[in-house]
């Protein structure tokens, strides 16, 4: 990568696969330490510098990673010629500015989800990266978990048949955010997973919810209409006494339950379903239930973030477009925007 950055006039040449991608990480709060640890462990990447506003955060970096430069000024890192890629691990309202500056300085960007606070920003960043031939990867970490990969396989193989619904419950106590409501905090997980799993594009969104404490919605319910009678629903809540991470996916042939809190058996596939034999008129419909075995496939046990960052390094060195690129980030932001609009109008249907 060093040579790559030394030859800015030759952007089309992918870097040699043997090169190391040098990272600057901005933000060392809750998630930043995981990003730094994984980048540090990968063979093909190196963490050169970390910045954070908090001096105690920087002290923690210095203690764990004595070889890493620390700085309270992100601009230093963004402009450093020693750095090939920036990881933006900061609150969402800072993503646009930091990502833009990083791209303008010729850095690839790994950015937390949600990508930006609105679609316009996301589009601008996508364009800028394209012009500069730089990669954007939005941290849709769940796509790299064993569970989501297994579900994706099952869907691709047609195991579930035509999809009827996707219904996720993602509730727990806190953490309250100051800058985003529960929808922008928790729903990006589900929306990015749905964006990955469901081939059809969503048509419209209805969202309801309520604020109770600090003026931001802490409870929200989102319905997403897809073509061909597929429907999705999300239940996100910061005020639940118990943690729930359960998704039901119903298909014509089979149905599955994904309980992400189970240590083993995260995914259970049920050989259950309903079929209707139509005869003459409503009262002659014959509904047949099918009830059979349940099956819990072995799930790959991996640290998703590790795989995601390895994939990002690969995409950079091989000059390939990540599946969770800026466009994927934009699709999620568009759904969040639509849901917010609907929420403010108490469930008004908002087309995408």
């Amino acid at each position: 990568m060093a040579t790559y950055l030394a030859k800015p006039d030759n952007l089309q040449t992918p870097v040699s696969a043997s090169d190391i991608v040098r990272f600057g990480v901005i933000g060392y709060g809750y998630w930043g330490p995981n990003v730094v640890r994984n980048l540090d462990q990968l063979d093909r990447s190196r963490v050169v510098a970390v910045s954070d506003k908090s001096s105690s955060a920087l002290k923690r970096v210095a203690k764990s990673y004595p070889h890493v430069t620390v700085s309270s000024d992100s601009a230093e890192i963004i402009s450093s010629p020693e750095i090939d890629a920036i990881a933006v691990v900061t609150p969402v309202w800072t993503h646009y500015e930091l990502t833009k500056a990083a791209l303008e300085n010729g850095k690839h960007v790994f950015v937390e989800k949600p990508f930006t606070t609105d679609a316009r920003q996301a589009e601008e960043l996508i364009d800028l990266a394209a012009r500069k031939n730089l990669k954007i990867m939005v941290d849709h970490t769940f796509l790299f978990t064993g569970a989501v990969k297994k579900i994706q396989q099952l869907l691709e193989q047609g195991t579930l048949g035509k999809l009827y619904y996707y219904d996720s419950t993602r509730v727990n106590l806190g953490l309250f955010q100051h800058d985003v409501n529960v929808l922008w905090d928790l729903a990006p997980h589900d929306l990015s997973i749905m964006d990955f799993l469901i081939k059809e594009s969503p048509e419209a969104i209805v969202a309801t919810g309520q604020t109770h404490l600090n003026g931001l919605e802490d409870v929200a319910f989102i319905t997403v209409y897809f073509p061909d009678k597929m429907i999705a629903h999300l239940n996100v809540n910061w005020l639940s006494p118990v943690k729930v991470r359960t998704t039901l996916i119903g298909g014509e042939k089979k149905m599955l339950v994904w309980n992400d809190l189970e240590a083993d058996e995260k995914i259970k596939v049920y050989d259950r379903g309903v079929s209707v034999t139509s005869r003459e008129g409503l009262y002659n419909l014959l509904v047949n239930y099918r009830s059979g075995d349940m099956w819990a496939p072995q799930i790959e046990q991996v640290e998703a973030l590790h795989q995601e960052l390895a994939y990002f390094v690969d995409c950079i060195t091989k000059d390939e477009t990540p599946m969770n690129d800026g466009k994927a980030g934009l699709r999620v932001v568009k759904m969040l925007e639509a849901a917010t609009k609907s929420l403010r109008q108490r469930g008004a249907l908002v087309y995408l």
Copy 2:
């Protein structure tokens, strides 16, 4: 009761407490046998006659209850001078006609939920019963379970503090109905419980959902807006591979989880919550989390239907108005009507 019916000109006189209420039961399908069994076991009631369209159902009655008159014609039962009260245990579209006929024949009526298919019918029946000084009880069975009674106590004692939300998931595979969608089939349970537990009147409803098989919605999501930022949400689904009966209730002081499928420990009360200390401006809000013990109160183990029917007999003999009277039935029907209207308009806000 016999003397009571013999003196129609003296309706104001409550029957003597020693009297037996004589029942005719219309409908002996899924739920009817439970109604008959419980009425047969009560000291103060007697089942005189049962009617059903199905001859095999009537055979089953004759085998188990040789002393009971059976008939394929409900009109016979409704007009019988030997009968004081009618239990209407039939599909919802028949409730209005049967209840009306029963009331016109001077019978008290115990009727399955939902009360009627529209509010107008319910209002007409309420008026008719009032004019005739007859009781209507709508079979909101859940109000008589140990779990709902315990929750009601906790709310009344202020254990949970001001309510923030009520969130119920009621999903399973089937049973598909020919005449009602999943909303009219499953939501009456939750709506009647909410009507009982929540003192405030609901303001507006948003419902979304989808049909997949026979033209009736098999998946639906309902949000109910209450005054003062209380919000309720129901998730009902006939296409779930697993059965879920879980309600989260969040309050300012405590939160509870009611899992009706647990054998013991149906209700867990969590000493968890969030409070916000406001200082200056949004970024100075201080959110405090409280996490403490969990407590599962002992729940009364009773057959709810038994208690409900005993209460109905009491209301008749003591001339008292049941809490789950026609008006309670009407309130649930109004919510179902509003939800249906919203569902058909993909989430339009419908005021109540």
Copy 3:
């Protein structure tokens, strides 16, 4: 059967299959009502008479089954020429006398488990029945559950491979018995299931336990040694705050967990195991773990007692020996005797 009883000199001739087996039931406490209900529902059996010491029990019989003769004197029933078979549903210390009298009066006997209080009694009854060409069936109800039948299939098909261990936990609060300890109360379930599932004969037993309240052991732990390194273990406890009904079965190829308290998914088969590659000496053993999918086969949903009684009626009318005959009952009693002996000697090894 009527003709059969009329021709005592012609015992070899099986009764015609179209005949009805007429039952007398002795004991109408906890389990008796289930026996009566099922015998009453079967096409090919009829309950003629029920006896119990308690007059309130007899009143309940009379209310539910007006056509059945009731009596406080079991001898009347045992000697009735109207009766072909006796169901002995009484405490264990009465089994021997009642069964003996029934056999002497030419009746087939269905008797609660454990069969008798000692092996000598069991042997005498088996001999008597053989001489009289009468059937004894010991009520090992669990053999007729969907779960045990499925496990038996899996074992027969070799799905689990060579068996390593069978480990059952059967604990709950009470019911304390006056006449038997927890071992004689709860262990017969497991011992009869093991007798059915495991082809090898047990070699020796070690039992430990403790009395705490009324002089009878309320906690007991039993180890059963089988040939070829198969080992079984039972944990029975009347003083557990929670109810547990879980059996682990480990085999060379696969392992299973049977949780009888699960509504669905009672049996989970795990594609997990361990194999050892032996090289030279202990420290060169190579242990290989295999971890794979889990699979929960669909279990037949039936009332086990219904199937068992239907099978008993079949065995009588077809003159066939039940699998859960007196000999099976004897094998269980021998294990109980050995366990009791070991328990009294604090774990002494008792050979079978």
Copy 4:
């Protein structure tokens, strides 16, 4: 500590509280990295050197802790004047030699459980440490978990009343050990917890079990008899398809279930019990069941090893005897020896 070690003639003077305890760690396999990480994080301790036979282990140390000396020779570390205390994190058969050498070199010792392979060794080490005024702490980590501390409090406060039984199930798939059987591998956890929680001394042990694969028992069941009818039971198994970590503790007043695999609600206290009212003779005993609320106390969330090592550093600097000292280690070893002896004789009662 440096001054302390420089003044061996002045052993009575506790080191100043501001001193740092300098550690050498022997063994960097499965558990060693946790010991090193925690010692490194404590304010009052420092890891000076780590030894392991494996060069790849030493490479991992060097990468994570560049400031730590690594060595393949444990003798170097044991004799180093720069070191105050040795952590022995190696297989059990090496504990005696390494601990002895460390004590002889004037080092305090933190040693993995089980303490030694036999009681004689343990006694010798205890004597040696006493003569040298050095501390031994046996790593009974569980004593420092929030769950065990909470149970200890409940017992001390008399919440459960007189203890009836302690029943632990600790089963999972592997890991197979080459040098110890399942009893020496898994039972030390339970035996050390019991040693901590139960005030009475155990009287006798019965153990049964079986070898299946490599000549070492992989399934074992241990009964421990205590005075006054208290009984304990352990079920340990390396061949279970599922992981179970559940302990039932039954007392006269209340009973508790400790499920260590639960994220929250690890301990549930049940207001359930049984009492017997004695009248005249066995058949007049009156057993009363009490069934009430369940309560899950909030459990402290801490890393037990962190607390344990901080406590060890405290014991050294304040010259105090740890509760989990060599004598506690010895008591556990004696129970393991007795259990092994019983196991080899198929359940023979072995007195302690």
